[in-house]
């Protein structure tokens, strides 16, 4: 019980009201320069449609705005605050230089419809990022248009459909292992396919016999994550992809877990036909409290004609242009060219590392996950007991016997100063505790994290009730989610 933390010091900034409650009529946080043209009257031009007031809109000074958001920021936990071992989210360090270069005048200010000769810098960044991602994945062509991983999935599945339709039959089903992220089935459904779930084998991996039964002529292909959501590599990947290909299907890889593979193995080399990458996971673009993300799709040559339009091409004179003339393209999935600012950051990260640095990064990420696994396995249950890659999955089986579940342990970790791991996922593990330390965790920090989880295990033995009420040190205690969902309050009202 020596590590038990009961209270934290009160924080002076803990009671910041909503900005609307701080508002006083007549204040503003900006002054505009004088108008340098003769004024026109919108009231006259708009007549009945003229708007007199924006009811309830805040009116505050600049300092009040700065204090408000600074205070709110102190209620957040970020990668900058400490270890953020959220499995499947790859919460790694977001290098500061990425932020600086993304804000350079010329990159941050160029208009998407600027004439191509005046947008060469932006086009080069997109082209170079795509080229690097192609090399990393082993694929032949990349589109940076998808705005996030889920949109990358949608784009990829639509490309599969377009390709198979051209071969004569788009087919009806996509196979998805039961360990998959929830976005996979959602994206597949929105693409107009139906799901067939594949039951994992006792290793948590794809069962070849099961796959062989399921992979019929009605199935367009397999969507898999490799390493899978248990952090385990599909060792039979070659057999899996050969089987799918032999039956006329395609292999889509969810690249969410690429942090385990860069510089070690390439999806195209082990049988994937197309995939998406998450720049906000693997390539250090910040998660931003839930976005923006970026989910480029990478494909083999035979799928290139179906990439979203436009694509970016490098001409023989070294200049870049947008190619809108793509008759077989699945179309457009987002206005303009995707989340350009995220490409700038990802490229800065790749350049900072080079091949050698990226490989070292992968090694450290895998080392860290295995270190955590090795030092917690005597205290927490390991449902699929084998070495992992970039993340490990434990379970609350032993603690559940004392009435404490994965979500409760997670909340108690907050009191020890850590962000929780991912709870209750993947679904094939009951009471899952999914830990992805990433390469950004130092040995010291991992040791403290491990000690915290060991200490919580002791607390559960001694006083489970205390853990059930955690966190004890945060600005707010556990929040009533049932009440929030039954009677939703989604906006402030005067």
């Amino acid at each position: 019980m020596k590590n038990r933390i009961r209270t934290a010091r009160p924080h002076v900034n803990r009671n910041e009201a909503l900005i609307f409650e701080r508002s006083t009529p007549g204040k503003r946080g900006v002054d505009l320069p004088p108008l340098d043209v003769p004024p026109a009257s919108p009231r006259e031009a708009l007549g009945d449609s003229y708007r007199e007031a924006i009811e309830g809109f805040p009116e505050v000074s600049e300092l009040e705005v700065v204090r408000h958001f600074t205070r709110l920021s102190t209620w957040n936990y970020g990668v900058d605050t400490g270890l953020y071992p959220l499995g499947s989210c790859t919460m790694k360090y977001n290098p500061r230089v990425n932020e600086a270069v993304a804000r350079l005048e010329g990159l941050a200010s160029d208009h998407p419809y600027a004439p191509e000769p005046l947008a060469q810098g932006c086009l080069e960044v997109l082209h170079e990022t795509a080229r690097c991602l192609a090399e990393i994945s082993g694929m032949d062509a990349v589109s940076l248009q998808p705005a996030a991983g889920a949109q990358g999935e949608l784009t990829g599945i639509l490309m599969m459909r377009a390709c198979l339709a051209e071969r004569g039959n788009p087919r009806q089903y996509i196979l998805i292992p039961d360990s998959a992220h929830g976005t996979n089935p959602a994206s597949v459904t929105i693409s107009g396919y139906q799901i067939r779930n594949l039951k994992s084998n006792e290793r948590g991996c794809i069962d070849l016999a099961e796959l062989s039964r399921a992979m019929t002529g009605e199935v367009a292909g397999l969507m898999l994550t490799n390493p899978n959501t248990l952090g385990i590599f599909e060792t039979q990947m070659r057999e899996i992809s050969d089987l799918v290909h032999a039956r006329g299907g395609l292999v889509y890889m969810d690249g969410a877990n690429m942090n385990a593979l860069i510089g070690v193995a390439r999806p195209a080399d082990f049988g994937a036909d197309l995939m998406h990458l998450n720049l906000h996971k693997t390539f250090t673009t910040p998660h931003g409290g839930g976005g923006p993300g970026s989910g480029p799709v990478a494909v083999k040559t035979f799928l290139e004609p179906y990439l979203p339009s436009p694509t970016i091409e490098k001409l023989s004179d070294g200049s870049f242009r947008l190619n809108h003339d793509r008759p077989k393209s699945v179309g457009r999935v987002r206005a303009f060219y995707g989340n350009f600012g995220m490409a700038v950051r990802a490229l800065a990260y790749i350049l900072a590392n080079g091949a050698e640095g990226l490989r070292q990064t992968t090694e450290d990420a895998v080392l860290n996950a295995n270190y955590v696994l090795a030092r917690l396995r005597d205290v927490y249950d390991v449902p699929y007991d084998q070495p992992c890659l970039h993340e490990c999955v434990l379970s609350d089986r032993r603690q559940a016997a004392r009435g404490v579940r994965t979500g409760d342990i997670a909340k108690r970790l907050i009191d020890y100063g850590f962000h929780p791991y991912t709870t209750s996922f993947p679904l094939i593990v009951h009471g899952a505790m999914m830990i992805e330390p990433t390469e950004s965790a130092s040995q010291d920090e991992l040791d403290e994290f491990i000690e915290a989880l060991r200490s919580i295990a002791e607390e559960i033995e001694e006083d489970p009730g205390f853990v059930l009420k955690a966190p004890h040190t945060t600005r707010v205690a556990r929040l009533d989610e049932v009440g929030a969902a039954r009677k939703p309050i989604l906006r402030w009202k005067p």
């Binding site: 900005i19 043209v37 919108p42 031009a45 209620w75 990668v79 923006p292 080079g354 040995q443 920090e445």
Partner: protein
Amino acid sequence: MRYLPHSPQDRSEMLAAIGLHSKDELFAQIPESLKLRGDLKLPGPLSEPEIVEFFQAAAARSSREYVSLLGAGAYSHYRPVAVEALLARGEFFTAYTPYQAEIAQGTLQALFEFQTLITQLTGMEAANASLYDGSTATTEAALMAMRLTRRNQLVVARTVHPEYRQVLATYVGHQGTRVTEVPWSASGELDRRELEAAVNPETAAVIVQSPNFLGVMERMGEIAEFVHRNAALLIVAITEPLSLALVKPPAEADIVCGEAQSFGVPVAFGGPYVGFLATREKFIRQMPGRLVGQTQDTEGRRGFVLTLAAREQHIRREKATSNICTNQSLCALAATIYLCLLGEKGLKALAEQNFSKAHYTARQLARAPGASLPFAAAFFNEFVVRAPGDAEALLAELQREKILGGVHLRRFYPELEDHLLVCVTETADRGALDRMARVYARWAGHSPALETPARDSTTAKAG
């Protein structure tokens, strides 16, 4: 590698703790035949100054020296310094989606404020915590309307942003959804007679943009009445939400969606931006994207949580209302900070400046012989001008004056050859606007195919 915290000794100690002898054993589970042989062929490693230099070189090959009159869904507005200063706080930008509410109250409260601001601006009752961008928000609104009405056809104004319509087509194209497009009338507004011909009992929603892609404000009341008489839903898409400071919100609509990039998010060659979607309270269970709700903790203190999550992909999987996983939290935060800084008075004053400048420019350009304003309906900060002569050559001439003079609408509408979409925000100063008007005046009467116009930049700049 400067981002990695392990020393060589740390690595050996940790390997030993796991019981391994070499780092290669970490990857023992990957069959040798599937491993990469050799190194990736990538540039780098680069030091920080080298990285800065690389991107500065790229940034130099841009239009940053030019006055931009480009809009069309991406608007240049001045961004107060405080926006960037607050966004740079690591607690905001290095956090994940606020699933652990107790240590994410900052993001959650800010998003709740964002939702509130969007409802105030749009006149709706509920807004989500943002979507990818305006194009995907419009598409999500259409899918939502089809779920709500259980109908499978859409009617879309041709004056909805062409790229938004392309995204919509990609999403619904393979689901047997029929999309009927309705042209504009002589005034630039939605053609009412064509609209009435297009709507039928299977129409789930009518999608109208205002100000529309031609800059024209639609009169929403009449459209809404007709749409509702047909038991369809009205979706209003907005690409320039600053207009909402001057124009009554489309409160008759069922869903108001669009792009909030104008509010403190840089133009950044098209993204990241911040889509929004707002609707009536009775439709919230069918909304896509994340929602933040107010609740209380066990001590009765106010707090915020992600709510109604059962609509979302991570729970509902193949039955989710949308496959969206990330939103655009940080951009929504930028918009929230921006709107708080401007406040009601500031936003209104800014919108009035945009309005005045755009109308001033339109008048000046239209005075050039051969130039005209083809659409008579009211506009905000963007309008169509028919160029006096070859628009491409005119744009090239303006470029020589360091002005990006507009978007040639031919690329989206073949019938609008030589029509330019011009956007004037507060960032364009009068000197540049007058210079542009002089180029127009000088251009009139020239036949550029035969004659290269005089390039007298000194005269032009003296204005």
